[in-house]
């Protein structure tokens, strides 16, 4: 019978992702890009790709390496692609970022960095996407959370293709009229497919499973969750339909856009209702910090959706869309990412270090690897800075935004220190920490050879 094993490179993906997050926060503190500069400025595009590709997408792919097998009860196909894909992605995202910096004129860099970085990133994501897709294909019929992941991967593919076209046009490599039209008119499409499809829709699917698992809530597919899936696919399909509309150039995009907004708002409303039910019907009385800190992410998602609809109704979307994107990217996606890391890191560390000793000697619990009281204050500071940062963008105060970013940088670094303490087993009671024969895991690199002794001997 299948039992998922530890993903060897997931912790390395997380480490790389967190380094990109710190880089992105530092750029915001220094006033590099929006809101000091325009939303479309090359500096802003550099910042956005550091955060969305470097942080969020590396985090998501690293997590999927571990969780796709758990979601579908099948081993990952082609697991050996994880390391080469990570190297391609780190190199690609760094090069792409430098390409945008070069485009801004801040440093004199060759413009070819942009398509080169895009190509490396596309190779990295495609290889991983192929591995995930083959795994999902072999596991049909898919449980609902895995279907969210499948759609998320499809939108990742679409987002990448559009991004590749933009990189080609901006660097002058592609001169086709259709590609230029897509670049001029379709930038928001690239962003919304990436944020709403790849990152948000996949997060929603995984969250159904993770929250249910960790809080022992009833684990069954509900009509409301299936409705979230169907409406989400409709919303993303409508967004994607804008591509041929732009290329043909005859029909207006407004009806498609409004339908997509309507279905997207319904998705958020029904999804949050489902999440409330998962919390209410949980069988574990105590809510651990990972689930508690996720509440801030759900609140941010609702707030971002309401703000979007309110701005659209008031006809002020263009002037304040940056605040909505910021709230969704940092409050919802980053908040959820940090909250889930707070459980995934100790859980994987426990398996790596204490799994082989289970039943042979006393072992700590997963919860013994963390110190919730110290981490709680950093999660509070994090969400406070998200709220202040959003407010700063709404009132147009770049200075306040940079102060909020400084607070956020401190909170993120403090949480990273908590993850390091967990990896180093610092919170584990001394008598249980490292009994004879156990080895402390590496900080972020796999310490055991492939197929090594940390795998159970018999199954």
């Amino acid at each position: 019978m299948f039992a998922a094993t530890l993903s060897r490179w997931t912790m390395s993906y997380f480490a790389a992702a967190l380094i990109f997050l710190v880089l992105g926060e530092t750029m915001m503190v220094l006033g590099f890009g929006y809101p000091v500069l325009a939303l479309e400025a090359p500096e802003t595009l550099a910042l956005v790709h550091v955060v969305v590709l470097g942080w969020l997408s590396l985090l998501m792919t690293g997590a999927l390496l571990q969780f796709v097998p758990v979601l579908v009860g099948q081993p990952l196909s082609l697991p050996s692609v994880a390391l080469p894909a990570l190297l391609f992605l780190i190199g690609g995202i760094a090069t792409l970022t430098l390409g945008f910096v070069g485009l801004s004129g801040a440093i004199d860099l060759p413009v070819t960095l942009l398509p080169l970085g895009a190509a490396f990133s596309i190779v990295g994501f495609s290889v991983l996407g192929f591995s995930f897709s083959v795994t999902l294909w072999h596991a049909r019929p898919l449980p609902l959370p895995a279907r969210f992941v499948a759609v998320g991967l499809a939108t990742l593919f679409g987002t990448m293709l559009l991004g590749g076209v933009y990189a080609g046009v901006l660097s002058g490599l592609i001169e086709a009229a259709g590609a230029i039209d897509l670049t001029v008119d379709g930038l928001s499409l690239h962003a919304s497919l990436g944020l709403c499809g790849w990152l948000s829709f996949t997060t929603m699917g995984v969250s159904y499973r993770l929250l249910t698992m960790f809080m022992l809530s009833p684990d069954k597919e509900r009509t409301s969750s299936r409705l979230v899936f169907v409406l989400g696919v409709l919303c993303l399909g409508l967004l994607a339909a804008a591509v041929p509309v732009i290329l043909v150039g005859t029909v207006g995009r407004s009806p498609l856009f409004l339908l997509a907004v309507g279905s997207g708002a319904a998705v958020v409303a029904i999804y949050v209702g489902d999440i409330l039910r998962i919390y209410r019907e949980r069988r574990r009385k105590a809510i651990e910090l990972n689930s508690r800190a996720s509440i801030g992410a759900f609140v941010s998602l609702v707030a971002a959706a309401m703000l979007f609809v309110a701005l659209l109704s008031a006809g002020r979307l263009d002037e304040a869309i940056g605040a909505v994107i910021y709230l969704a990217t940092f409050g919802w996606l980053t908040g959820m990412g940090l909250a889930q890391l707070y459980k995934i890191v100790p859980f994987m560390t426990w398996l790596e270090c204490y799994g082989p000793a289970l039943g042979r000697m006393p072992t700590p619990r997963v919860q013994d690897l963390v110190s919730e009281t110290s981490a709680l204050r950093w999660f509070r500071l994090f969400y406070l800075t998200v709220a202040v940062g959003t407010l700063a963008l709404l009132i147009g105060s770049a200075l306040l935004f940079r102060f909020a970013s400084l607070g956020q940088l401190i909170a993120v670094n403090a949480l990273i220190l908590e993850f390091v303490r967990t990896r180093r087993l610092i919170n584990v009671p001394a008598e249980l920490r490292l009994p004879d024969g156990l080895v402390r895991p590496g900080l972020f690199l796999p310490s055991i050879p492939h197929g090594g002794s940390h795998e159970p001997r018999s199954l």
């Binding site: 097998p69 859980f347 994987m348 398996l351 159970p456």
Partner: protein, 108 residues
């Protein structure tokens, strides 16, 4: 092996398994209801049927091996076999009374 001896060995296996803690729940596998059946036959042959809280969980293999090792070391056991099943799937209702504090509808 007489019937009382069989029952005694089953009880000792069950007690021995209480040292295995589900790392996420922090409770032992017996009180969590993860041990579905302990069948002891003539000659000290023990067959344990168990499950895990979540199908496909990465801790599954470690839990199964821990149960296997633990049963082997119970005096009187000459052969141990552990079978993993998800039929029926585990639910929190299978926990022994007091193994877990239940929530009552609130978010906090």
């Amino acid at each position: 092996m007489s019937a009382p001896e069989t029952l005694d060995l089953e009880a000792r296996i069950r007690d021995a398994l209480r040292i295995i803690i589900d790392p996420e729940m922090g409770k032992n596998v017996v009180d969590l209801g993860l041990i579905y059946d302990i069948d002891v036959q003539e000659g000290g042959i023990a067959r344990v049927t168990m499950t895990t809280t979540i199908k496909g969980c990465p801790a599954t293999a470690f839990l199964k091996e821990a149960v296997q090792n633990c049963v082997w070391y119970v005096p009187g056991v000459e052969y141990a076999e552990v079978r993993l099943t998800y039929e029926p799937p585990w639910t929190p209702d299978m926990m022994a009374d007091g193994a877990m504090e239940f929530a009552h509808g609130s978010i906090f």
